[in-house]
């Protein structure tokens, strides 16, 4: 899921960096103070999730868990995921520093989208319904991320359809697993700490 250094053309890199800076800015401004620890925990979750590998045929893909971050954090997913991606690039050599902006957008933008689409459903429903919304969000985040990655590659000259197919097909198992994990996590959170989703939604509206 991480695009590496040298795969993208400079305009795409610059555009991605600009979008990432904008997203991080929005995330930092909208972040209520009491949510910062939650952002830290989800950032660490995302950081470690990339080490959880799922074998697919001869190759393997790793977990991403950006949907969960988006559901809990909303726009604040941008800074949280950016930090995790930066550390992954430095420690594990996943992706790279020049593509950091593009990777941040590829992963955080779907997270924010999923947060906007599915959080209302989670807040409204019973734990069981919330789990379904959570699973939907978890799967959707991966699908959107695949599309974003394919788009970034296509803008750099690679044919869009084969690239999208390759990325999307490789991530179908991840999509299913992430849907299950996100659903389970949301179910648990809704049972023991439902304000995780509501409190944050309310406080973002205040600014």
């Amino acid at each position: 899921m991480h695009i590496v250094d040298g795969a993208l053309s400079p305009p795409v890199l610059i555009g991605g960096a600009a979008l990432a800076v904008a997203g991080i800015g929005i995330g930092l401004r909208r972040m209520p103070m009491e949510k910062i620890p939650a952002a830290g925990v989800l950032s660490a979750t995302f950081f470690v999730a990339s080490l959880v590998h799922v074998p697919v045929g001869p190759s393997s893909v790793h977990l991403i868990l950006n949907g969960l971050a988006g559901l809990v954090l909303g726009w604040a997913a941008f800074p949280a995921l950016f930090v995790a991606l930066l550390l992954q690039a430095v420690f594990f050599g996943f992706g790279g520093l020049t593509v950091l902006g593009v990777n941040t957008v590829d992963i955080a933008l779907p997270a924010v989208t999923v947060g906007m689409l599915c959080r209302a459903g989670i807040v409204r429903s019973s734990p069981r319904g919330a789990a379904i919304w959570g699973a939907l969000g978890g799967g959707l985040a991966i699908a959107l991320t695949s599309v974003c990655v394919a788009l970034a590659l296509a803008l750099s000259g690679e044919a869009f359809i084969p690239a999208a197919k390759l990325v999307l097909v490789a991530h179908i198992p991840v999509m299913l697993i992430e849907a299950a994990i996100t659903g389970a996590a949301v179910y648990l959170a809704q049972r023991v700490k439902p304000e995780l989703f509501t409190a944050f939604g309310a406080s973002t509206e205040h600014g």
Partner: protein, 203 residues
Amino acid sequence: MRRIVTTLLLTAALAAGPALPAAAHKVVAGAYAAGDQIEGEVGFSDGSMANNALVEVLAEDGSKIGETHTNPEGVFTFTPTRSIVHIFRVDLGGGHVAEVRLDVADLPAALRAPAAASAPTGPATTPAAPSAAVADRPPTPAQQAAFASALRDELRPLRREIIALKEKNDLQSVLGGIGYIVGLFGLWFFLAARRQMRKAGGH
């Protein structure tokens, strides 16, 4: 409640099971001199090799010197003709790109000497300089070549292991990364709290 915990544990176990051979989904490539050729390997860090992938050979300024393909084991060979920095670039699609840089000092012996534009014809007959320093009866070029090739065969698994080792993520880096995250978010929390307290004090 207990059912949730068991479900979560089960999910965690399922997720962690395949994680044990922590292989990253990432392109790895290496290249080294082999006789008068350059040999290299391309594959994914989980062990699968790149079959019949196009390897572009570029000069330092980005101009193309030539190209070659990998065999089913992910191995490619290229015969260099110029004493310059060689950059091998492989694009396996889907954003998987790898570049290997081979400096002049790592080129095959015949090309290793500093490129002197004035003497491209002369040294062709004399074998590589390092052999002159050996004992009374230096080995013949044929013997040298045989040694070199045997040594290369012996070293190949070692090279592979080193490439694999470079891609390994050990617990220290994982814990270090988590530590950084905790520290950064703690700092952020501190700054936010200080700002809030200042605001509260100002009013």
